[in-house]
Symmetry: C2
Subunit: 204 residues, 2 copies
């Protein structure tokens, strides 16, 4: 549990108050479980603190729906109707991003991923949200669909106090260099190694 | 994203259906961030699947309250009032476990931890919940307040389909041996290294 006691105090001329509210760029990478789950857990915490939360899932199929999406829909409703927590938006690539209102096939995944990133960059410029989850965002970076240099430049210069959490295996070094917090989830043991299959409420 | 395609199919005579619904014992350990956060993220998923969720926090002070506790209180209310998701209980050691209704100081942390584990063992025997989070439970094990052998025996023989997630650094080897899923969270980079302090909505 964080006790809020830093190991060193930097000589950056900043007050504790300013340093405390510094926007965070976190990356969850590695081959183990828990990268996305921990990001959604952080989003839950952010929601509770009243932050405006937005999740962008860089997934192949919009049909795939994790339990967190439904749970966050409920939390978003609690905010809209009861003023509890913060507002929530949840966008998935798959068959077109939800804001784009495109229906049907989205065969060009590379173009869809690039569109998604452009929208996120616009929102960051506008300070639209307080807490962003870019779920499985390392894959379009890895496959060259989105330029890492561009992503890092946008993130480094984002205005205000916008927190960003990026998940996925094989995060590129440039992104790790830009991040404040990097956690590697390492697989020590996994039931699928023994031939078990995933189950609802556990794996999704 | 899990594709539900196991690498091998075991020759254990079980059907996929039985294997699929096997109760999971997961351990999140290591010095990195995200151990508890990922466990609460899993609990969110379990809640959404209608599971009965119980969190037991082995923390020093009951005054420490993470954002997830408030958020899960809302989710529990959504279940009680609207039938959404599953029921939620949240118990903290600190100044006495909530079910014990003891007020005031709880100076003997070792005794309190042992009481907590006894209650959890009783609940497992009664199949009271579907999804248990034993948060920071490795510490009382490490300090010898609770016998690892006893914990492993109870967990190995728990009846029904009860999922258990245990978090904390330095998980003992016996526990790792008994677990189905072990993830080690490794710290690659942490803002507190640079003298930053924790902030609400991010660290708690």
């Amino acid at each position: 549990m964080p006790q809020g006691r830093p190991l060193t105090v930097p000589e950056d001329g900043l007050t504790t108050r300013v340093r405390r509210s510094a926007p965070l760029l976190a990356v969850h990478t590695g081959a183990g479980k828990g990268k996305s789950t921990a990001a959604f857990g952080m989003a839950l915490r952010a929601w509770n603190a009243g932050m405006n939360v937005a999740v962008f899932q860089f997934v192949k199929s919009a049909k795939w729906k994790v339990g967190e999406e439904s749970a966050f829909a409920e939390l978003g409703r609690l905010n809209a109707e009861g003023g509890r927590g913060g507002p929530v938006e949840w966008h998935k690539m798959g068959a077109g991003w939800s804001w784009a209102r495109k229906e049907g096939n989205e065969d060009d995944h590379a173009a869809a991923a690039a569109d998604g990133w452009s929208e996120i960059a616009r929102r960051l410029a506008d300070e639209r949200h307080d807490f962003y989850v870019l779920d499985e965002f390392t894959y379009p970076l890895k496959w060259g669909w989105i330029a890492v240099e561009d992503v890092v430049a946008v993130l480094r210069h984002r205005p205000g106090r916008q927190h960003v959490v990026i998940t996925g295996r094989d995060a590129p070094q440039l992104l790790l260099d830009a991040a404040d917090l990097v956690t590697e989830m390492t697989k020590v043991k996994h039931p699928m190694d023994d031939g078990r299959k995933g189950q609802r409420g556990i794996e999704w």
